[in-house]
């Protein structure tokens, strides 16, 4: 299988659930270059620190790192899809490590059971009562590795967790930690031994990103660096969970003007009208697109959201939710291309 998913740190429990813990550390240094009005959370500066830290591990992929941060700040879930060996799991783990919170990793395998994900009530002989043993989702960051290798039943177990941030077992509902982020990796669907992710579940991921091969320089550097020490082990947390909550709250308060809302709605509507698409974007997609745009704007240090932010997020947020018509698929169009075309067609208020 993939060399990148190979375990690098922490304990490995059975059925692949690993718990990673790091020493608490909180860096509060403020960057003087901030241009935004005074708020209690300097998203741009702290985001830059995160990006820098992750970038030390995932080299040559600033866009992908940035997108991961956007999803984190948008309180969403990230789906990393690519062929084996390009660093999907590394990204997921690097993101997890930079945040000082509970991090769990689930290696999805065909025999993984839903209760391994959500948790199970076991009978305690001593207290003569059922006791709830929390599953792998009870953490701030859940790395769901090779999610499409598990059976659909287990995949669906993630559904409730991801959207509602709670787990219901035997009629009892347990709240999940905040922030809660699922970083899932998956191999392309054509690969052997995969179960395609259902549409409903794909829709729950805020964004899908594809790693892509590193460029020549990055690959050379990687070969040189890896030989001595794994950068992942050198990574220390930059923010704690409370701080991330503050940042997420700050992002949620970013100003969104009326024309921008309209632009998002026009864009989402356009996907539903497009003759190339069998399934357009859901209202949830619009919601998450706006959230992601907010996070993008905050990372850029702005106190308001621009259509540019929406455009930057449109492909990663929308493309994996869309289903092409057979004609469009035969014409070798893909969802990214369709979204890009829509961006060029939907009018932007205040531009041209």
């Amino acid at each position: 299988m993939s060399g990148v998913t190979e375990s690098t740190a922490g304990l490995r429990s059975d059925r692949g659930v690993t718990e990673l813990r790091s020493a608490p550390r909180h860096d509060t240094s403020q960057d003087a270059a901030a241009t935004q009005p005074e708020t209690d959370a300097d998203v741009a500066a702290e985001g830059a620190q995160l990006a820098e830290a992750i970038g030390r591990v995932v080299q040559g992929k600033p866009d992908v790192v940035r997108l991961a941060l956007v999803v984190l700040l948008a309180e969403g879930h990230l789906l990393i899809e690519d062929v084996p060996g390009v660093g999907k799991t590394t990204l997921a783990k690097a993101l997890a490590r930079t945040i000082d919170g509970t991090v769990r990793r689930i290696q999805f395998t065909p025999d993984l059971l839903p209760s391994d994900v959500t948790g199970v009530a076991v009978y305690d002989q001593e207290s003569r009562a059922f006791e709830f043993k929390p599953g792998a989702v009870f953490a701030n960051v859940v790395v769901a590795d090779e999610i499409n290798r598990a059976s659909p039943k287990t995949q669906s177990a993630l559904l409730e967790c991801m959207e509602e941030r709670q787990v219901t077992v035997d009629g009892v509902t347990y709240e999940l930690a905040r922030p809660f982020m699922v970083v899932a990796t998956q191999n392309p669907l054509e690969m052997e031994g995969t179960y395609p992710l259902p549409e409903a579940q794909r829709d729950r991921f805020t964004a899908r990103v594809s790693m892509g091969y590193p460029d020549r320089e990055a690959e050379l550097a990687m070969l040189g660096g890896r030989a001595t020490v794994d950068p992942l082990t050198a990574l220390t947390p930059v923010l704690d969970a409370a701080r991330v909550r503050t940042l997420v709250a700050a992002v949620g308060q970013l100003h969104v003007a009326e024309p921008l809302r309209q632009y998002v709605v026009s864009l989402v509507e356009a996907t539903r009208r497009s003759p190339d698409l069998r399934l357009g974007a859901s209202p949830r997609a619009g919601l998450q697109l706006l959230r992601a745009a907010r996070a993008t704007a905050a990372l850029a240090g702005r106190d308001h959201v621009l259509p540019d932010d929406v455009q930057a997020m449109a492909v990663p947020v929308l493309a994996h939710r869309l289903l092409l018509t057979p004609d469009a698929a035969l014409a070798r169009r893909d969802a990214q291309r369709v979204v890009t075309d829509l961006l060029a067609a939907v009018p932007v208020h205040g531009g041209r």
Binding site: P37, H255, A257, P259, L260, A270, R273, S274, P275, D303, H304, V305, L306, P307, D308, Q311, A312, T340, D341, L342, L343, A344, A345, V346, P347, V348, H349, G350, G351, R352
Partner: protein, 784 residues
């Protein structure tokens, strides 16, 4: 994201298709000249030069493209200047065609122009200008005139070709077609033939279609089917809508009838009371000077040839005013007992009764057959209608003829030549004294009168001699409506010298000459009796308005004479005053009057239409009238210039308003409009930031200061649209300054041609209008 936005297809120069379309369009436009000429011999040389311009341009450009392509990628240094060679080559081709057609004798091999052949050509063009002056429309296609027309069309073809092909502004090329359309409009009297309108319109559609097609094919956005079919349907639709709008809209817009502007001046200040000196002419002018005849009267007469319908006589002549009416005596009512104006006893006469139904006529003077004995106005107070025995005019006191019917009985004098010859000369007669009164005349007029007449002759012989002056073709009088109005001393001298005029001048001049010969005379206004309609009634139209002469003979009274050459079907036979030209033709053909005219034949179509009598104007109007073509031409040019300058003015105004506004949004709009004017290529749908980035890339090389300025503008625009309300800033002088910086930089980075085009023909105004219309037009859902 700018990298993901497709570059718009680069606007290319018009291909060969556009060049050929220009030739077709100009040729169609030239068809507008068809009604200007009698025959179509002008069409061949015009077609040849247009083809020379169009095909020559295509060939030269293709040659140039090949030469440039063979060279480096960017084209050699001379490729820019070489573009100038194309129009020069076209001019040379036009010269060759002109030489071959018009001046091959002294040309080299009959083809290549030499200095002497060019001199011949120039002489021919000089002849052409003279022929323009001499001929009225429709004109004979004489060589000079055709040469001049050919040069004219060639120039227009060159201009349209330049505008449509290298400048890619085929809409402006339409101005050239408009000029062609203006030629028949300004020269042909009356209605303009349909072809004059339809042909240039079709040409314009062809021009737009070709350009549209070139753009669509060039951008690879050709919808369906062959390249020929691309964009044809929208072009057709646009052309149809424009045509229908052009035809329908004028119906709802009030316009001035032809000539009524001048008539309006003459009619101003007409007195209201009867019995004062007033100008009857001005009141009639409004209905007489319509471009299209209007039915005025329906006449049911007891005889087949009822003679002239007389309205009023002009019996006073002065050198500075011309012929006018003296005061009317309004004492006698037509209801009074006894005949109104009986003829003298012992005179040949015939009785004519008539019933006249007024259609559109509306005047204070009743048109009556001469000489009225009794008039019965039906359905109106006879008391309101008065009779002046001296003028033999029935006129209304505070009433007009509108909607009336009346019956009249008249006695028409039918004197024989013998009776007239026998009429004595009696200098002591008060009539002679009153109706021979003349002011100091132009010496040439007096000399002419002396030369024509001899005091020893009988009055009738003298009158015949004067009449012969006008009716004998040998004397070369030509009928023309396009001369100045009026019968003042100067006007008459001009008429007698230039021998071009219409009924007013013919009658005025004859009356003056007859008076100068000592015979009492006056000018009479009225109508020829019209054409027999379907129901047997005669219908008198505005085209039947006429002026003629009455001469007083002792013992016989007033006898009509008509010096004007009018169409045979309208003419009234006056056996005592035969027209020399009529005598020759046994079967009068209105289209060939006079058979052997010595000069270029008087345009027949005009004769047919004849003789609107146009009122004498106030004297100060006369010089203006002579300037009229110039004034009209100048006004037309100004209107065209104003129309062409309209986008410029609109754009200027828009710019000033936006700068005064100073809000980031307004400044941003202005920046976008500037880029559009300068044809800066920008992605179609993009955010302010992306546009700023594109502009920054363009300006980075030339003007780094402008890069910061354009980004500041974009930031301000973003903030004003998307920022939190608290952060929005008002007008900021620094931003206005930034806009000025960017504008300067953009202008510097554009070619001179783009700058000129942006100033004269700002594309943004047109695009704004188009977008405005598109936003309001119903629209089909369109796949994105």
């Amino acid at each position: 994201m700018s990298g993901q936005v497709d570059e718009l297809p680069r606007a290319t120069r018009g291909g060969p298709g556009t060049g050929i379309a220009v030739a077709v369009a100009v040729l169609l436009g030239a068809l507008a000249l068809d009604p200007v000429f009698v025959a179509r011999t002008w069409l061949l040389p015009v077609t040849m030069v247009v083809a020379a311009v169009g095909l020559g341009g295509v060939a030269l450009r293709a040659l140039l493209d090949r030469l440039v392509d063979d060279a480096e990628d960017d084209g050699p240094w001379w490729s820019g200047p070489a573009r100038l060679a194309v129009p020069l080559g076209q001019v040379a081709l036009v010269l060759v065609v002109l030489t071959v057609v018009f001046a091959p004798e002294r040309a080299w091999a009959g083809v290549l122009p030499t200095l002497s052949s060019l001199t011949d050509l120039a002489g021919l063009l000089g002849d052409g200008t003279a022929e323009i002056r001499e001929q009225a429309t429709p004109a004979l296609p004489l060589t000079g005139l055709v040469a001049l027309t050919t040069v004219f069309v060639a120039l227009i073809a060159l201009a349209v070709d330049l505008l449509a092909v290298p400048a890619r502004q085929p809409a402006l090329g339409g101005l050239g077609l408009l000029v062609l359309y203006c030629v028949p409009v300004s020269t042909v009297t009356g209605e303009v033939a349909l072809i004059s309108f339809a042909a240039p319109a079709a040409g314009f559609a062809v021009l737009l279609w070709a350009d549209q097609r070139a753009r669509l094919v060039g951008s690879g956005r050709g919808g369906s089917g062959s390249p020929m079919g691309t964009g044809t349907l929208p072009a057709l639709r646009t052309a149809l809508v424009a045509l229908v709008a052009g035809l329908l809209l004028p119906a709802f817009v009030p316009t001035l009838a032809e000539g009524s502007l001048a008539a309006g001046w003459g009619g101003a200040g007409t007195g209201s009371g009867v019995g004062t000196s007033l100008d009857p002419v001005a009141e009639m002018a409004g209905q007489l000077s319509l471009p299209e005849p209007i039915d005025l009267l329906a006449v049911d007469a007891s005889v087949a040839d009822p003679g002239y319908l007389r309205s009023v006589s002009l019996d006073e002549y002065s050198g500075d005013v011309g012929w006018r009416m003296s005061n009317l005596d309004g004492q006698a009512s037509i209801a009074a007992d006894g005949p109104l104006a009986p003829l003298l006893d012992g005179q040949s006469r015939r009785e004519v009764t008539a019933r006249v139904t007024v259609l559109a006529h509306d005047d204070r003077f009743l048109p009556l057959f001469d000489s009225p004995l009794s008039v019965q106005v039906l359905g109106s107070e006879d008391e309101s209608w008065r009779f002046d025995p001296a003028a033999r005019t029935v006129f209304g006191r505070d009433v007009t003829t509108g909607g009336l019917s009346y019956r009249s009985t008249s006695q028409q004098p039918q004197p024989s030549a013998a009776e007239l010859t026998a009429a004595p000369q009696d200098p002591g007669d008060p009539m002679v004294e009153r109706y021979t009164a003349l002011p100091e005349l132009d010496p040439s007029v007096v000399a002419l009168s002396d030369q024509l007449t001899d005091p020893a002759q009988s009055p009738y012989e003298r009158v015949r001699a004067v009449l012969g002056l006008f009716t004998d073709p040998a004397n070369g009088f030509t009928y023309s409506l396009s001369t100045s109005q009026g019968t003042t001393g100067d006007d008459l001298a001009d008429f007698l010298r230039l021998k071009r005029g219409y009924c007013e001048q013919y009658a005025g001049a004859m009356a003056v000459l007859v008076r100068a010969a000592g015979v009492p005379a006056r000018v009479v206004l009225g109508y020829t009796p019209g054409q027999v309609g379907e129901d047997g009634d005669r219908v008198v139209t505005t085209d039947d308005a006429h002026a003629w002469v009455e001469v007083w003979f002792a013992g016989l009274g007033w006898i009509p004479f008509d010096p004007t050459p009018i169409a045979a079907d309208r003419a009234v036979a006056l056996p005592w005053a035969p027209r020399t030209d009529e005598a020759d033709t046994s079967t009068p053909d209105p289209f060939t009057p006079g058979g052997a005219a010595p000069l270029p034949a008087p345009p027949a179509a005009e004769l047919d239409r004849d003789d609107q009598y146009v009122p004498p104007l106030a004297p100060q109007a006369a010089p203006e009238e002579q300037l009229r073509p110039w004034l009209l031409g100048t006004a037309g040019t100004l209107v065209v210039l104003a129309l062409a300058a309209l986008p410029f003015a609109v754009r200027r105004r828009q710019r000033a308003l936006r700068l005064a506004d100073g809000q980031p949004g307004a400044l941003w709009e202005e920046l976008l409009a500037t880029t559009e004017d300068l044809a800066v290529e920008l992605p179609g749908r993009s955010t302010a930031r992306q546009l700023a980035q594109q502009l920054a890339q363009r300006l980075a090389a030339t003007d780094p200061a402008a890069v910061a300025a354009v980004q500041a503008l974009a930031r301000a625009q973003e903030r004003s649209v998307y920022g939190p309300p608290a952060a929005r800033s008002g007008p900021d002088p620094a931003l206005t300054e930034a806009l000025a910086t960017v504008r300067r930089a953009l202008l510097r980075s554009s070619s001179r041609g783009e700058r000129v085009r942006a100033a004269l023909w700002p594309a943004s105004t047109l695009a704004t209008a188009t977008r405005w219309a598109a936003a309001r037009a119903p629209r089909r859902p369109r796949p994105a």
